[in-house]
């Protein structure tokens, strides 16, 4: 299968600090890729560069074959839950999704149907006419996911999508992500919840100090770290990130 996300020798510095250092990533169509790393390891910077929000200092990026310079074309094939989660608080969920749908050129009946189906999927149909300012954190997370899906993306970048959600909310989002992946959507998931990554992802990349220190399935990572079969992803993660700090 061909790569839908490809990054070659990606680097980004903030002053003297190297946030990402020579990162190479190749993610195939339909994969559910987990991206792990300690705080400040470079996960969000990587996602921002892959999604075109941040310009890398060096390196090449291609999404679905489009080079990063082709930002508008890339925007049409990706959906993102970014780290910064601002909303137009005065809008209702319907107005908010409608605004973004129009930015993607989705109008009329198609727009209404898409909004209804997404609000049902994320369980916000009952509150569709309430102002976002009145939403709880969990509801905002779900609305953010609905916004990321408004253009039927082929690739979904998620930066901590279940952050702040209760276990029920987390499970709902995980089920939805599984369903989307089963439909062929490639998912790039950055999360601190190792159980979540372990349950959902077919392949995992671990970043530490801006470098990709390991990549593979959980079994491959276990083999690489020479840990026993009884060891969990948490053990693998700690082993890889502590050794490289």
């Amino acid at each position: 299968m061909s790569d839908i996300i490809s990054a070659e020798n990606l680097s980004k510095s903030y002053g003297a600090t190297k946030a990402v250092d020579g990162l190479n990533l190749h993610i195939r169509k339909g994969e559910f890729f987990g991206f792990l790393g300690p705080n400040g390891a470079g996960k969000t910077t990587t996602i921002r560069m892959l999604t075109g929000i941040l310009k890398p200092d060096h390196g090449k990026i291609a999404i679905d074959g489009y080079p990063s310079e082709n930002k508008q074309q890339i925007a049409k094939v990706i959906g993102v839950i970014p780290e910064s989660r601002g909303f137009y608080e005065w809008m209702t969920a319907v107005e908010y999704l409608g605004f973004f749908a129009e930015l993607y050129g989705i109008v009329g009946k198609e727009k209404e149907e898409r909004i209804s189906s997404l609000l049902t999927e994320v369980d916000l149909m009952k509150r569709r006419s309430s102002r976002i300012g009145t939403y709880s954190r969990g509801m905002r997370q779900r609305l953010g996911l609905a916004r990321a899906l408004i253009n039927n993306p082929q690739v979904l970048f998620l930066d901590e999508p279940t952050l702040g959600l209760d276990p029920q909310g987390q499970e709902d989002i995980q089920l939805l992500l599984k369903k989307l992946n089963a439909k062929g959507v490639t998912i790039f998931l950055s999360s601190h919840l190792l159980n979540e990554v372990s349950n959902l992802c077919s392949r995992i990349g671990i970043i530490n100090n801006g470098k990709l220190v390991a990549e593979g399935t959980v079994d491959e990572l276990r083999e690489k770290t020479k840990l026993g079969k009884d060891k969990t992803l948490t053990d693998i993660f700690l082993n890889l990130t502590r050794n490289n700090t």
Binding site: Y14, G15, R48, T51, G52, I53, L54, K55, Q72, A75, K76, I78, V80, P82, E83, S84, R85, G86, F87, Y88, E89, W90, M91, E95, F99, F100, E102, L103, Y104, G105, G144, R147, N151
Partner: protein, 256 residues
């Protein structure tokens, strides 16, 4: 694409009552000024053309001040409320974003102008200047507002902070407005005259004076005031263009 941004801004301004508040403030200021001009013993002794000139200065002055305050937060709010990232992840270009925001600020100017029309008509009742007065307030106000918005948007893209933008924009507005309020006999030296010739607010007031007091109504008779205003718009547009390039170079998320 920019129409979606424009519509969003208008809806947001209406929902938060921000625009309504500006319009009420403008209306109150125009009412107070017109009332004073028509009823105050000393002021009502002024020639009608002088009254119109004073009202024209106040309408454009109030509009420039309101636009300065409002436009300073139009772009920066997207960064401060963390909505910029989601917005720029959609297929919107920076050009469409700026045009949409520009139209929203111009809509506020248009609304202030519409609010001022009854005051212009009442104050110019009985004279043949009502139409020329309206036309020149619209033309001079639009040139001044457009140039100012270009400048403020350029500053906004560099700072990405409402506080810094509004402070800088108000200082610039004050630097232009204060000398324009000086009497002409205080501008006798070469430096003052040169600054006065280049100052957009001075040119707006001088053109109004030319139209209302000296009855020079045609555009040709006002070219010496309109040309510096057009040049002001071109300079501020160049600044906005440069700021947009800097913004694109740094990326939506700043490196620092």
């Amino acid at each position: 694409m920019f129409t979606h941004i424009w519509k969003k801004e208008i809806r947001g301004a209406l929902y938060t009552w921000k625009s309504m508040l500006w319009l009420v403030i403008s209306s109150l200021l125009f009412s107070f000024t017109s009332y004073l001009l028509l009823t105050n013993k000393e002021l009502s002794l002024l020639d009608q053309t002088e009254l119109l000139w004073l009202l024209g200065k106040i309408i454009i002055g109030v509009a420039l001040l309101i636009i300065t305050i409002d436009a300073s937060s139009v772009i920066t709010t997207e960064f401060e409320k963390e909505t910029a990232e989601s917005l720029f992840l959609s297929p919107i270009s920076l050009k469409d974003f700026i045009i949409g925001k520009l139209l929203a600020s111009l809509t506020l100017w248009a609304a202030i102008f519409v609010v001022s029309i009854p005051y212009i008509l009442v104050t110019s009742a009985g004279s043949h200047l009502a139409l020329a007065f309206l036309e020149y307030v619209a033309l001079l106000g639009t040139l001044g507002v457009v140039g100012l918005i270009f400048l403020i948007f350029g500053i906004s893209l560099l700072y990405r902070s409402s506080k810094n933008t509004i402070t800088t924009a108000l200082i610039i507005l004050l630097a232009f407005a204060t000398p324009a309020l000086f009497a002409s006999n205080l501008k006798n030296d070469i430096v003052s005259q040169a600054f006065s010739r280049a100052n957009p607010i001075d040119n707006i007031f001088s053109s109004l004076d030319n139209v209302l007091v000296d009855y020079k109504i045609s555009l040709l008779e006002n070219w010496q005031f309109l040309l510096p205003l057009v040049i002001f718009c071109l300079i501020t547009f160049t600044f906005l263009f440069w700021s947009a390039k800097q913004f694109e170079k740094k990326g939506i998320i700043k490196n620092d």
